[in-house]
């Protein structure tokens, strides 16, 4: 049975660490749904959030193989406990005629923000789970979507549970 897992990784903030993780996934045939990485408050560490799917055995191998990489300091599988996940999306849509009001309403309903406006175009910022972002794109059917940028998932555990040194 394949399940979606969100793996959070602290790794040494060194050139090449990212390609090591990406290379591991391609070399061993694991799939990556999304991957985000940026430095943390500790400048020597980067934090990566990696979304993947696989059977329990595959996920166990993925975490073991990741732990084997010399630059990986620590990791947790967020989906093993309760957690929060967020993804940022920027969408550029045609906003003319009736769509201009309709899109604005939709943005309000989804608690998004219009962050740039021209005579014919809105640029919208929306944050939420992947499902919510998908639903928003679905709801935009009445107008033309020009481009979509998604950040990939970032995640954090709820409560006391934390990924830190």
């Amino acid at each position: 049975m394949n399940h979606r897992h969100i793996i959070s990784i602290l790794l040494e903030n060194e050139a090449g660490a990212l390609s090591r993780v990406a290379g591991l996934f391609s070399a061993r045939g694991y799939n990556i749904e999304s991957l985000t990485v940026a430095p943390t408050d500790d400048a020597t560490l980067s934090r990566m959030t990696l979304v993947t799917t696989g059977s329990d055995a595959i996920i166990e191998q993925i975490t073991k193989q990741l732990n084997k990489l010399v630059e990986v300091v620590k990791l947790i599988d967020l989906t093993e406990g309760s957690h929060i996940e967020r993804e940022l999306m920027l969408v550029k849509v045609m906003a003319v005629g009736d769509a201009r009001e309709e899109v604005k309403r939709l943005v309000d309903i989804f608690r998004g923000r219009i962050i740039d406006v021209t005579e014919s175009i809105y640029t919208i910022e929306l944050t939420g789970t992947g499902d919510k972002l998908d639903a928003f794109i679905d709801a935009l059917r009445m107008t033309q979507v020009i481009e979509v940028v998604r950040s990939g998932v970032s995640g954090i555990a709820r409560g006391e549970r934390a990924l830190k040194l």
Partner: protein, 577 residues
């Protein structure tokens, strides 16, 4: 005192106690070569191709347990070494490979002899480093040796841009090292060890299966004690040969695709399996769905990712083989439970029935030289005391089957990657490490050609390797598969236009012999071993039709072996306890 980067590289090698490095100079490595020239502690062995350097360092590492060191230049220097790096990676051999790189400011410009060495080697190293600041050079070298040699060992590449090797800085080599992101587990969990001991003592049909991890951790004494304490049968993987003395009655031979009948049948029939320092590789397990159908499995390995990768373990133990087996022996000795003597006796009766098949039998009346006979004679004449390297193919399997290794680090072969061309350069590293030992390279005419240039290196450094070329004028293992599975369509497996190996050896300044009759085998081997100071290339013209038996074909289980026509009938199976 301030040293240049090049001098720092060499000083680091000295401070690590490195005796030999294997390499080939070129533009980006010239500063380092200049620093090498001005000292005499670290001896440089000039190979004839960088693949040879990596294999030679690898052979040195396998024969000594100490890291092998390679020095190559940028571009083709490092790409040529990749096969050797991957070979060491697959077999968990500690190597430190220093590669020259174009100057930092030229990286990315497609400069002359530039290649992304870090990118190219990334999938086949334990770790790699690009040194971007001379201040990091010494600590990076320290990390490289530390990572290469600890935990599950492996190759580490240090890529050093040429300008870094010219810059000067105060030299400081750290004595020890702690890395927050790397600290291998050594000790097994006590609770798991107790569970393992309990399970082992419930066994009615036990089996102990060990691999290269026993060799790496120098756990041969602990393994021998454990096996003898329990009285259980023991089998070794190709990489694990020598971990348990092959002449001991509790040893049932190698297991796997070309393992013995008794080892594979016992694997199939066992109810408790103890696996130590082995990774359930596909050449061991055959079809996973049919693997060890009755067994509860204890798996001991220092690499957590080896456990549960191919085969689920009932009792996983992460730890060093030596430490875990020592603890296991202690727990068993302290407890009051003994192995089930009755069940064990019945199990050994069954195993001895299987042994009665004599699965390694071959035709001893043939007028052609049987390759098995050559290996058997080499074993007899050397008293089992030689270091034996091999290439890859039929000869490798015959060497593993017929040379009975009683000590670790004597059997040196490319098990995981299966690299033809490994045997001769590896033998150079072994001979340098053990100058007075007999070092034999058992090879075939197809493999030996792949790194034949190293005959020149052997001449330069007077390495008296004994090359046992089992020449059947075929890529034997390819031919065997084509015979069995491709209806005898021998597609491109025939070695046409072979050289005259005797003349070839002589042209490099060595002794060449051609042996064509079984009656001449022993004499040739004795004569060759008598040549203490010279390399002898023995070209044995062998039976072209000989196959390696037993064989587990792809998709088969351990109880579905092809037996040799020369072996006995498979016995009636006893009722298992």
């Amino acid at each position: 005192m301030e040293l240049t980067g090049a001098e720092i590289v060499v000083r680091c090698l000295q401070d690590e106690g490195i005796e030999y490095i294997f390499g080939y100079p070129g533009g980006a490595a010239l500063h380092i070569y200049d620093a090498l020239y001005q000292q005499d502690k670290v001896k440089h062995i000039l190979v004839r191709h960088e693949q040879g350097a990596a294999h030679a360092a690898d052979g040195y590492a396998r024969a000594t347990g100490r890291p092998g060191v390679v020095l190559v230049t940028s571009g083709p220097g490092v790409t040529n070494a990749v096969t050797g790096i991957a070979t060491a990676f697959m077999d968990s051999i500690p190597l430190v490979v220093i590669s020259g790189q174009v100057p930092l400011k030229l990286i990315g410009d497609d400069a002359f002899q530039e290649v992304d060495a870090i990118g190219i080697t990334r999938p086949c190293v334990k770790h790699n480093f690009l040194v971007k600041d001379v201040r990091d050079l010494a600590s990076t070298m320290k990390k490289a040796f530390y990572i290469a040699a600890t935990g599950r060992p492996g190759p580490v590449v240090v890529d050093v841009p040429k300008d870094i090797t010219a810059q000067k800085i105060e030299y400081f080599y750290p004595k020890s090292l702690k890395m927050r992101s790397y600290s291998p587990t050594r000790k097994g969990h006590p609770k798991q060890i107790r569970r393992a001991a309990e399970l082992l003592l419930t066994a009615k049909r036990p089996m102990i299966y060990t691999g290269g991890g026993v060799i790496t951790s120098a756990a041969e004494a602990e393994l021998t004690e454990l096996v003898r304490l329990l009285g259980y049968p023991c089998t070794n993987t190709l990489m694990g040969l020598g971990g348990y003395p092959a002449d001991d009655p509790l040893f049932v031979g190698m297991l796997g695709m070309h393992g013995t009948y008794e080892a594979n049948m016992a694997m199939h029939g066992c109810d408790v399996l103890l696996a130590v320092g082995a990774r359930f590789d596909d050449r061991i397990t055959g079809d996973l769905a049919k693997f060890c159908p009755y067994a509860k499995i204890v798996h001991v390995d220092i690499d957590p990712s080896s456990i549960g990768k191919n085969v689920r373990a009932d009792v996983p133990i992460v730890g060093d083989a030596r430490s875990v087996m020592r603890d296991l022996v202690k727990v068993i000795k302290e407890g009051d439970v003994a192995p089930d003597a009755g069940a064990l006796e019945a199990w050994w009766r069954q195993i001895n029935d299987w042994r009665g098949v004599d699965c390694l039998a071959f035709d001893r009346t043939s007028e052609l030289i049987k390759p098995q006979f050559v290996v058997e004679k080499l074993y007899e004449i050397t008293g089992g005391d030689a270091f034996v390297t091999s290439d890859v193919g039929q000869h490798q399997m015959w060497a593993a089957q017929f040379y009975k290794f009683t000590q670790p680090r004597r059997w040196i072969n490319s098990g995981g990657l299966g690299t033809m061309g490994f045997g001769l350069p590896a033998a150079m590293g072994v001979q340098l490490a053990h100058p007075d030992a007999t070092v034999a390279c058992i090879t075939g005419e197809a493999s030996i050609i792949m790194c034949i240039q190293e005959l020149s290196t052997c001449k330069q450094y007077d390495l008296p390797i004994k090359i046992v070329n089992l020449n059947n004028r075929y890529m034997g293992m390819v031919r065997q598969w084509q015979e069995f599975f491709y209806d005898r369509r021998y597609s491109h497996s025939y070695m046409d236009a072979l050289p005259d190996f005797v003349a070839l050896a002589e042209s490099f300044g060595h002794v060449g012999m051609r042996i064509e009759k079984p009656a001449d085998v022993e004499g040739a081997l004795r004569e060759s071993l008598g040549e203490r100071n010279r390399l002898v290339f023995m070209d044995f013209i062998t039976d072209q039709t000989e196959n390696v038996y037993p064989m587990i074909a792809a998709g088969s289980g351990h109880n579905e072996m092809h037996l040799s026509p020369d072996a006995g009938e498979a016995p009636q199976e006893r009722e298992l306890a």
